[in-house]
Amino acid sequence: MPVFIGQDVTRIDALDKVLGRAAFAYDLKTDDMLFACVVRSEKPHALIKKIETARALSMEGVAAVLTHIDIPGENSFGAIKKDQQFLAKDRVRYVGEPIAVVVGVNEEVARKASGFVRIEYEELQVISDPFVSMTSPVLIHDEGNLLSHRKVIKGDIEKGFNESDVIVENTYRTTWVDHAYMETEAGLGYMDDDGRIVVVSSTQNIHYKMKEISRMLAMPPERVRVIQATTGGGFGGKLDVTVEGFLALCVYHLKRTVVMRFTREESFLAQTKRHPLHIEYKTGARKDGSINAVRVNITGDTGPYISYGETVCLRAAVHATGPYEVPNVHVDSRMFYTNNPVAGAMRGFGVPQLAFAHESQLDKIAGILNMDPLDIRIKNALRRGSLTATSQALEHSAGLPETLKRIEPFWRSRERQNDRRGFGLGCMYYGIGNTGVSNPSDCYLTFMPEGRIALHSGVCEIGQGSDTVLMQILCESLAMDDEKIVLLRGDTDTSRDAGSSSASRQTYISGMAVCDAAQKMKKYLEKEGYYSGRPLTDICEAALGKGDAMFEGHFDPPTTPVDMETSRGAPYATYAFATHMTEVEVNEVTGACRVVKVHAAHDVGRAVNVKNVRGQICGGIAMGIGLALMEEFSPGKSKSLDDYYMPTSMDMPEVEAIIVEDREPTGPYGAKGVGEPALIPQAASIVNAIKDATGVEARELPCHIERLKLLLEARRQK
């Protein structure tokens, strides 16, 4: 029997994708479909006095203009809290907020007509800075401008600093980043023969969207079906409801097939972004390099709605110390509402921003103590038996020391090819799955009449390779070739809720759910003689005849909720760890920083698919380079990809991916996750390498050519 785990099994979606026949949502469009587009707020903060739709509606080819009054159920959605309106009723809080949907016979008609929907506003005072929001009498929501304040408290912070020999204090800033997936938000909706609403879209979660649609339309969830089309990237931006609500509403009213696609400009304007964070960071260490106290004050701009703001607030706090054992910790993490773009989930949920801060701090301390940056990391690294900042004891997989060890030979033998070069390290840890809450995944296996087994999976494949990985896990668990297995995926009608493809959770959590179902089926197959040679077709036929057709799998990682005051608890069942070593070359004349080489060592527990893991690492490095050196979304200015730069093939370094496998006993064959970890330490290691090359310390990201040159100039003048 072939082995599947740890093999370079070919991605099951790759063939269709190289042939160009993979069907992304907008590829499903046909001529008879209506096209819907959104009329959006042009004001950052205003009361809506009047929505004038008559003129648009009277235009030839316009099928409908829908507003909040057309929503039969609840006009609200939100992954964490239902605070966002599908279509604004009386008030808008950011530029781009949806107000109406115009449906026409084609895109041209719909877009043209949308220009004739007239909105009368009464402008309100705009808040565009979280520090203004903090104290402003202008309230974006009645409950106040503070969305969330989370704390992490451990030990005695005052005592910690008193007993420290070195104290370093700095402020770090990051800005908005766009997901910039190559495929913008798109989907289509239709009514099936039973009169149910069906939405096919580019998404990271189908069951969540089914529930939101059902609430909006006041229909039971079983009257709604959501199917995932081939999805051109997610990175957190397709977690929130994008086109799905509008499509469902159009179908509800028109009973016709309707298609939508956001333009790149629309995607930039209206969709969520990475949170800009302002991080005040104070670190105390003893002479031997051990970190004794960490005090962090995080202030975030969450925009006007929650989206995943609370999640980022807490996750940033919990990960604020970095992957180090720190006895005395005090973190305050606060998110304020503003009239800026909605900040939501993006690869790493605030942790990449914090990694930039804690890794810079650590190098600073190493410098003062005249310690090697690698040694100080080895000294403080979390390892088996360590207590995290939330006082969670790491009992199992904790491979940070191993990642450091694997980087060590490259670090110790590093040599500057010229004096413009420098080397930097970045470490990270990252809790797999959602923070301190239940986040289960369910799946099931059935026998198919043609004599094969079906895996019913609600996991969304967004390019990360989850379909292939789940199939590998199932094949291994059943000791069965993939030819005998059919994957039925991404359809609420044929699957259970697997949760979102986010938080690096699908391999770990849904992988375990698949293991669970497989174990049950395997017992059955054993009993039925499959492993002693009885043909599967026989077993299938008999099982279907008897009605023994379904084997359910479930996994919910063992976590505890964290304490509201101290965040004490076990918010994650397992953590991923990584160390990146980056070499850069800085052009002191222009301020351009070129990333030359990255060694990236990741403890993934177990690499189910080595090529996929490497793909995640390389992709994460690219996004980390963007975060560190070029990506900067300026509200009102960044309109499209011509003024928002992300890395091209020529911005990429040579990459050596090093896989460490400290197996996680609660994970499928020991696997954890890698999607977000791949990105998290990269920007930090670049900033440290720039310091090594030039002596300047970047405290604000992105450290693009202009910012870096100004730092170099300031150093020169000193």
Binding site: V18, G20, G232, A622, P647
Partner: protein, 157 residues
């Protein structure tokens, strides 16, 4: 409206297009070639890349009427499920495909490179695909795939 006649993936094609429509639109909406993607419509992402006379062009900023009399290739030209082009095979085998949205355009840029340069080095490859953005892979495995395919093509010829 204009009637244009051109070679599309080796076949003579005649189609009526509006004066003001892009080649991207004509390919997707009139000829059903949905492998040509729309990612920005201003020539800043590369997902709409097609080959015109074997050179990569952005079809989002090419008027359809310009295709008249030329040779246009999309990824469908490269291979079929039964007979993949070495580039397609290498993309599959090297992990060069993640979400797949940039893949058709990326393959075409690579194909055009290999027509001109049988033995490209890493820098040649990076330059050749530098007009095709990819947000998933970090390009590393794409570059490896193209290098592998070049080797395979040379071996076969």
């Amino acid at each position: 409206m204009k009637t244009i006649s051109f070679i599309l993936n080796g076949k003579k094609t005649v189609v009526e297009v509006r004066d003001s429509e892009t080649l991207l639109y004509a390919l997707r909406e009139r000829l059903g070639i949905t492998s040509v993607k729309e990612g920005c419509e201003i020539g800043e992402c590369g997902t709409c890349t097609v080959l015109i006379d074997d050179e990569p062009h952005y079809s989002c900023m090419t008027l359809a009427s310009k295709a008249n009399g030329s040779d246009v290739k999309t990824v469908e030209f490269l291979g079929t499920a039964d007979l993949l082009h070495p580039l397609q095979e290498a993309f599959i085998n090297s992990g060069a495909v993640q979400c797949g949205y940039c893949t058709p355009g990326m393959l075409l840029s690579a194909y055009s490179l290999l027509l001109k340069n049988k033995d490209p080095d890493t820098d040649d490859i990076r330059e050749a695909i530098s007009g095709n953005l990819c947000r998933c892979t970090g390009y590393i495995q794409i570059v490896e795939a193209i290098k592998d395919a070049a080797g395979l093509c040379k071996h076969n010829s």
